[in-house]
C-alpha cells in the first residue's frame, strides 16, 4: 500500500555527509537565550545535543516551558541559536528551508483562502501554479480524508479537520523533514487517536523524518522511534529513550506491557524532576 500522491519532482540528492556525521539533523551544544522585556535573560535551551537519522520519528516530551517550541523553531529556521549549531544535511540552519515542512500548534490557515488554496500556499509562494501541484494538493487532501472539502473555507471545518489541512500544507513541497509542534494538543482524545493513526500511516508510506512535540507521553511512545525527554530551567535534554516496540503499531499497541513500561520510565523521569522541584 503506497501513497499515490503525485510528486512534484525528484527529491534532491542528499548532500554528502560532512565530518562523518551522516545524520540528517545534527544538533550540537545548542544554546538559546532570550532577553525578556524586563531585561533579564531566560536560558530557554542549554547544551542540547541530538542526532536524528533519516526516516526517524522522534517524539519530544517535557513539561511546559522546557524549550520544546524553541528547539523546533530553531530547526524550522524561525529562530537563531545563541551558540552551538543546528544542521540539516550538514548545512547550518539560518533560514526556513524548502525541504522542511512545519505543522504548528494552531492550524494557522488563512481564513480568506479555500482549503485547496491553503494547501497550495507553499508552492504558490514559489510562483508554481501548475496543474500538477493542484493534483498533488487534491490527492493529499483525499489521503487525509478531506477530498470533498477542497472548496470549503477553514471556518467551515472542525478543529481536527483544520489541523489535517495544515498537515497537507506542510507536505505540499514533499519535504524530507516534518516538524510538528503539539499539532493535536487542542483536540479531543478520539480525534487525536484517529489523527495519530493517520500520521503513522503517512509516515510509513512517505518515509519522512519527523520531529513531533507533544505533552502526551503515550502519544510520544506510540509514534516515536525514540522519545526525547526534556526538562526545564534551563531547558535541556534529560534523556533519550529508544522505543523498542516493533512496527506496525496500532491503538492496540498501547495495551502491550512493554508500552506501559516505557511510559512509566518516562513518567518516572518527569516524577524525579517534579520531586526535586517540590523538595526545593
Amino acid at each position: 500500500m503506497t501513497l499515490r500522491v503525485a510528486r512534484l519532482s525528484e527529491p534532491p540528492a542528499p548532500a554528502p555527509p560532512r565530518d562523518g556525521a551522516g545524520k540528517l539533523i545534527e544538533i550540537r551544544a545548542l544554546e538559546k537565550r532570550f532577553r525578556t522585556r524586563s531585561g533579564d535573560v531566560v536560558q530557554a535551551l542549554s547544551n542540547v545535543d541530538l542526532s536524528i537519522a533519516e526516516n526517524e520519528f522522534i517524539s519530544v516530551v517535557g513539561p511546559s516551558g522546557c524549550g520544546k517550541t524553541t528547539l523546533l523553531r530553531i530547526l524550522a529556521g524561525l529562530e537563531q541559536a545563541s551558540s552551538g549549531a543546528a544542521m540539516v544535511a550538514g548545512e547550518t540552519i539560518s533560514a526556513p528551508r524548502p525541504d522542511v515542512g512545519v505543522v504548528f500548534q494552531q492550524a494557522t490557515l488563512l481564513p480568506w483562502n479555500t482549503v485547496l488554496d491553503n494547501v497550495l500556499l507553499p508552492v504558490q509562494l514559489r510562483g508554481d501554479k501548475s496543474p500538477e501541484s493542484r493534483e498533488r494538493a487534491l490527492s493529499l487532501l483525499a489521503f487525509m480524508g478531506l477530498g470533498e472539502f477542497a472548496k470549503k473555507y477553514p471556518f467551515e471545518l472542525s478543529g481536527g479537520m483544520q489541523q489535517r489541512v495544515s498537515i497537507c500544507r506542510a507536505l505540499m513541497r514533499d519535504p524530507k523533514i516534518l516538524l510538528m509542534d503539539e499539532p493535536f494538543g487542542a483536540l479531543d482524545a478520539m480525534t487525536r487517536e484517529m489523527l495519530n493513526m493517520e500520521l503513522m500511516r503517512l509516515w510509513s508510506e512517505e518515509r519522512k523524518t519527523v520531529v513531533f512535540i507533544t505533552h502526551s507521553i503515550p502519544e510520544a511512545v506510540l509514534l516515536g522511534d525514540r522519545v526525547v525527554v526534556m526538562s526545564p530551567r534551563p531547558g535541556r535534554i534529560s534523556e533519550v529513550l529508544t522505543v523498542d516496540i516493533p512496527r506496525p503499531r496500532s491503538l492496540k499497541t498501547m495495551a502491550l506491557p512493554r508500552f506501559g513500561e516505557i511510559c512509566d520510565e518516562i513518567r518516572s523521569r518527569f516524577g524525579a524532576e517534579l520531586y526535586t522541584e517540590i523538595a526545593l
Binding site: R73, L78, P96, P98, V102, T108, W112, L121, L125, F155
Partner: protein, 262 residues
C-alpha cells in the same frame, strides 16, 4: 432557513418598535396638546416631508448635500487608504508621524470648519473638503491599526514556508487588515454626513444643513424634522453600502450574534 426566520423575526420586532414609538408620540402630542413649535406630531412632519418633495424645494439642497457627502467620503477614504498604506509600509515614517496622527485625531475637525469656508468659499467645495477631512482620520488610523493586527503565528507560518516580505504583505497582512479597515470605513460613512452638515451650518447657500437653518429661522419645526429624515436616510444608505461591501469582502468574519449577558 431557521436563521433567516429568526432574523426576519428580529426585523419584525424592530418595525413594531418604531411603529409603537411613533404611535405614542402622535398620541401624546394630541393628548397633551403639545404646541407644534416645540414638538410637532408625526403626521405634521410626514405632511411636510411630502410637500418638500412635491414642491421640489428639497432637490437642489439634497443634491448639494449628497455631492458633498459622497465626494468628501470618496476623497477622504481614498486619501486615508493611500496615506495609511504608505505610512505603514515605511516603519521609519510611521514612527515619525504616528504621534502627530494621534494628536491630529483628537483635534475636533469640526471646529476648524469656519476656516475652510474662508479658504474654499461658500460653495460645495468647502463642504467636500470638511467631509473629506473628517473621513480621512478614522480611515488612516484603521489602516495603520489594521496592518499591525496580523496574527504572529500566521506571520511565522508564512516565514516558515518561505514567503518574501511582499508576499506576506499581499497574502497575509492586507487581508488581515481589511477587517479593521472596514470598521474604519463604517465610522467614516457616519462622519461624512456630519461633516457635510456642519459645513453647511457654518456657511452655505444650499444643502440640507442650510435648509435646516433656514426652516429653523422661519420657525418651521415640522420642516426641520422632515429634513432630518432625509439626512438620516443618507447616513443609513451610505452606512448600509459599506456594511454590504464589508460582508462581501471580509466574509470569513463570523459576527457574534449572541447577547453579552445571557
Amino acid at each position: 432557513m431557521s436563521t433567516s426566520a429568526f432574523i426576519s423575526g428580529h426585523r419584525l420586532q424592530s418595525l413594531a418598535l418604531i411603529v409603537g414609538v411613533i404611535g405614542t408620540w402622535e398620541l401624546s402630542c394630541r393628548f397633551f396638546d403639545i404646541p407644534p413649535l416645540i414638538l410637532p406630531a408625526p403626521h405634521a412632519i410626514a405632511a411636510r416631508f411630502v410637500t418638500l418633495i412635491t414642491s421640489a424645494t428639497i432637490w437642489p439642497h439634497l443634491l448639494a448635500t449628497l455631492t458633498a457627502v459622497l465626494s468628501g467620503f470618496a476623497a477622504g477614504v481614498a486619501a486615508g487608504l493611500v496615506f495609511g498604506a504608505l505610512i505603514s509600509l515605511a516603519p521609519a515614517v510611521e514612527r515619525l508621524l504616528y504621534p502627530y496622527v494621534v494628536g491630529l485625531q483628537t483635534v475636533p475637525k469640526i471646529a476648524i470648519a469656519p476656516l475652510f469656508i474662508i479658504w474654499f468659499g461658500y460653495g460645495v467645495a468647502s463642504k467636500i473638503v470638511i467631509t473629506a477631512l473628517v473621513c480621512f482620520f478614522p480611515v488612516l488610523v484603521s489602516v495603520m491599526a489594521g496592518f499591525h493586527s496580523t496574527d504572529r503565528d500566521q506571520l511565522d507560518m508564512m516565514k516558515a514556508f518561505g514567503a518574501t516580505p511582499w508576499q506576506t504583505l499581499l497574502r497575509l497582512r492586507l487581508p488581515s487588515a481589511l477587517v479593521i479597515i472596514f470598521s474604519g470605513l463604517e465610522i467614516a460613512a457616519v462622519m461624512a454626513v456630519i461633516g457635510a452638515i456642519v459645513g453647511e451650518f457654518v456657511g452655505a447657500q444650499q444643502g440640507l444643513g442650510y435648509l435646516i437653518t433656514a426652516l429653523n429661522f422661519s420657525l418651521d419645526v415640522p420642516g426641520v424634522f422632515a429634513v432630518l429624515i432625509f439626512l438620516s436616510l443618507i447616513g443609513i444608505v451610505l452606512h448600509g453600502l459599506v456594511r454590504a461591501c464589508s460582508r462581501r469582502f471580509v466574509f470569513w468574519i463570523r459576527r457574534e450574534q449572541n447577547p453579552l449577558v445571557p
